[in-house]
Symmetry: C2
Subunit: 370 residues, 2 copies
């Protein structure tokens, strides 16, 4: 009785995978370097490095399938498990592509998916040349290891080359900083049989440094004023990428909307913060659909149920009683020790209409941003 799913990473995403999977009769085991990993509320925790082969073997033992909840999981470790015969889903190839910003952008381009102008930067001179070509403003990003706005420097003037080079160095990618209308994301799930379903496009708001991929503050779903053509464009982007990767599970692509066009910024080969609204706001949550996909089960409906906004709780949790007093508000406390800039939880608020949602969000933003 009871299939076991092994999850590489034991953060809030693992925790929410567990919460979605227990009702499906699944058991979970997590691997995380921290003995305080929040996912351990849902199953045994193996404490160890995500690339440690013994720890990987330990967490995977007897599991029906292995997944990861962080795109920084060393791809070699995931490959090693695959070679031992484990079903690693999504496949380690998705990690490899996502872990290299250059490979990621080249993949988009190869698939005919529009992206902001970019250039590989391996030397200081290449940076100067690339900046000439692309123009300012631009963003220099490390090829590996950046997330939540870390590992990137903005260049507003050509004279900023020296400082940017000194701060980041190579290997890096210089990207055009697009003057976009808004940031969207498309969340898609692909089944073992190759069927892809997309959730409605989500509108995202990031903290402070807009456009540099800073930490996510809020998501609204469905994104307002999305034409069928725009939704179709987002789904086409997702479909091409997932098919190309032979992907199994949930994947999120961050997009810039410029007029009627969508440009791909980056993708995350996992369940994603901009999909947390699906727990209450969609027919089937991203977490359940990820599990259904990786276990070869039929996908669930990705339709929205009403209108939702998800607000991240960053650095501190809001006053819980006041949050819970807002109709339609759903608290998600990850059980983490507060630390500045840390995602400690989120609140999703749902409503039947966009107007009702606006009222509720106004009450919540005051609390969650406080």
């Amino acid at each position: 009785m009871g299939e076991v799913v092994a999850v590489l990473g034991g953060g809030q995403l693992g925790r929410m995978l567990g919460l979605a999977g227990v009702p499906l009769g699944l058991s979970f085991r997590f691997l995380d370097p921290s003995p305080e990993a929040p996912a351990q509320a849902l199953g045994p925790l193996v404490v160890g490095a995500l690339g440690d082969e013994a720890a990987l073997r330990d967490v995977a033992r007897g599991a029906t399938a292995v997944t990861y909840e962080w795109e920084g999981v060393p791809a070699e470790g995931a490959r090693a498990l695959e070679q031992l015969g484990y079903a690693v889903r999504p496949g380690p190839n998705a990690l490899e592509v996502a872990q290299d910003r250059l490979g990621e952008k080249e993949t988009f381009r190869r698939l005919g998916i529009p992206v902001p102008a970019f250039a590989a930067v391996d030397t200081r001179d290449e940076l100067a040349r690339a900046l000439d070509d692309i123009g300012t403003p631009a963003v220099l990003k490390t090829r590996r290891g950046g997330y939540d706005g870390k590992g990137q420097v903005m260049l507003h003037r050509a004279s900023a080359v020296e400082a940017a080079w000194a701060e980041l160095g190579a290997p890096a990618v210089l990207e055009q900083m697009v003057r976009f209308d808004r940031e969207l994301s498309v969340l898609a799930v692909r089944s073992l049989a190759g069927e892809t379903r997309c959730y409605p496009l989500v509108e995202n708001r990031h903290a402070a440094e807009r456009g540099t991929g800073g930490i996510l503050r809020a998501s609204r779903a469905p994104a307002p004023a999305v034409t069928p053509a725009l939704q179709a464009a987002g789904e086409a982007i997702a479909g091409r990428l997932l098919d190309d990767l032979g992907y199994v599970g949930v994947l999120a692509i961050e997009l810039f909307q410029v007029g009627d066009e969508l440009l791909a910024n980056e993708f995350a080969p996992r369940v994603h913060n901009s999909g947390h609204w699906t727990i209450e706001g969609a027919e089937t949550s991203q977490f359940e659909n990820h599990l259904r996909a990786m276990l070869g089960r039929p996908l669930g409906s990705t339709n929205a149920r009403g209108h939702s906004v998800m607000l991240n709780c960053i650095g501190a949790m809001p006053d819980i009683d006041r949050v819970l007093a807002v109709p339609g508000a759903h608290l998600h406390d990850y059980g983490k020790t507060p630390r500045e800039g840390r995602k400690l939880g989120h609140v999703t608020v749902t409503a039947a209409t966009a107007e009702e949602l606006d009222d509720r969000v106004a009450r919540l933003e005051f609390l969650v941003d406080a």
Copy 2:
């Protein structure tokens, strides 16, 4: 960080309380006589009798509040924890009333809540006299310990007295078997501050022996064709009972509808099978509202989201892939070993309209009843 809730009983209700409570940042500890109790997926399990004082102390240690997920929990044990200073919610008095069918019915009557005719039966002669008064058909029920249709005998003719007496004996209650139009239940939650909220009335269908309180097969919410007056009548019944008990948490009352009138059959001082639909079908699930109430938090909205039907999986789980392929279907596998007559899980199916729901239910009933 992190309040601990102790739950007396580690069955599926405890498991679903845990699933609702982890996102609220709560941790759980369960007490159950079975080392295979399904709730242990959500927290440590103390294996022991529900009336064992050492085990009770063990599970309650350090808990912010203690609750129970079975109305058969010995009231003395719950009282003992209360005397040790623990917040036991709902209070042990609710257990005491619910554990005695006679006291339960007398409470309803004292509160002016209509009930089917009944009489206490302590001797064979009293049974014969009561049957004369009440008439046939009637049901003889043990005062203590019956559930899911156990501990009761139907009397269709006066001549059945001998056999019924031989089977059940005293102390018992004889109840008029009402020719009702349908079975409903009202699910209510009362906060620590004394506010009561009710979910929409639910229509229930029981297996085989209709009217004898047999095992629940299906619930539909909101119940079709409920007038505002009928909903108000259900809420008035719940309000009177909860206030009288000084109740904190979720309570369910089983009702018979006869014409425009509601008769109270029995109540369960806990989250209830006829409220499982609230996980996907209401703004706030019964499990979350029970926890909010017992921890002194504001109650969540009890409004329905669309239309829902909950089907119990009894004795065997259905073909999971075929269930998951039905749009709007949500599987809840309790992780229990199959056994005839055992509740192993449930499926809730939701839809935006009653017509869409009917289509989906038709597909599911074929699978779940198979």
